[in-house]
């Protein structure tokens, strides 16, 4: 089990109901995509937030990554919707 800090933004944050948490992840969670799939098993709030899994953006240590990126060594993983700044 590895421990990781997760942070959520915008409607991902609202649907999950919290802005951050620290979770222990099973060894089967290798990539960012695995993480999303794992989170969806944790309750319906996660299911609602991550329902359209392919639109969820992932950042590891504050840099954008694809869903197939390994998360090993991540201090902070952020999940959020497509950006709408500017």
């Amino acid at each position: 089990m590895a421990s990781v800090n997760l942070v959520y933004f915008a409607w991902v944050r609202e649907r999950i109901g919290k802005g951050e948490e620290t979770l222990e992840l099973p060894g089967t969670v290798v990539t960012a995509g695995d993480l999303l799939a794992h989170l969806k098993t944790l309750g319906e709030e996660y299911e609602a937030a991550l329902e359209h899994q392919n639109v969820i953006r992932v950042a590891i240590n504050q840099e954008h990554v694809d869903h197939d990126e390994p998360i090993a060594g991540a201090r902070e993983i952020a999940l959020f919707p497509p950006m709408t700044g500017g």
């Binding site: 942070v7 933004f9 915008a10 409607w11 950042a59 504050q62 840099e63 954008h64 952020a78 959020f80 919707p81 497509p82 950006m83 709408t84 700044g85 500017g86």
Partner: protein, 158 residues
Amino acid sequence: MTGVPVTVRVQRQDFDLAAEVQALSTGRHDIGAVVTFSGLCRDEAGSLSALELEHYPGMAEAEITRICKEAVTRFGLQAVCAIHRHGKILPGENIVLVVTASPHRQAAFDGANFIMDFLKTSAPFWKKEHAVDGKERGWVSAKDEDDSARDRWSNTKD
């Protein structure tokens, strides 16, 4: 590119366009062109009370800095400034400022245009609309046209 000033700020308060342009160009005789882009909170229908801008502290600054440095290299800019506000922003107020300086005009135009396209699609900011009737109108959806605007930079040589 060493020594090219890149100023990036994410802040609650408004910015001062003239002060940022001054800071970037005063005392320099090598700058021929300065382009500024200001993005404002728009409400043609009169139904919006405010935008609320959420951001990812730390990554917002880091990502905008990456974009600005890429623009410096790509277009040969002499100086860049990018400021993005967060929190509640009223119709008519400023949201974002980009300033670019270069010896020639096209590089300054392209640099500011490039930074805005990537800032829109890559910088971690999210807009929520509040209606004048007090109700939340919810989160603004990302636009396909913003992705297209970004992608055009992969199809050109300069």
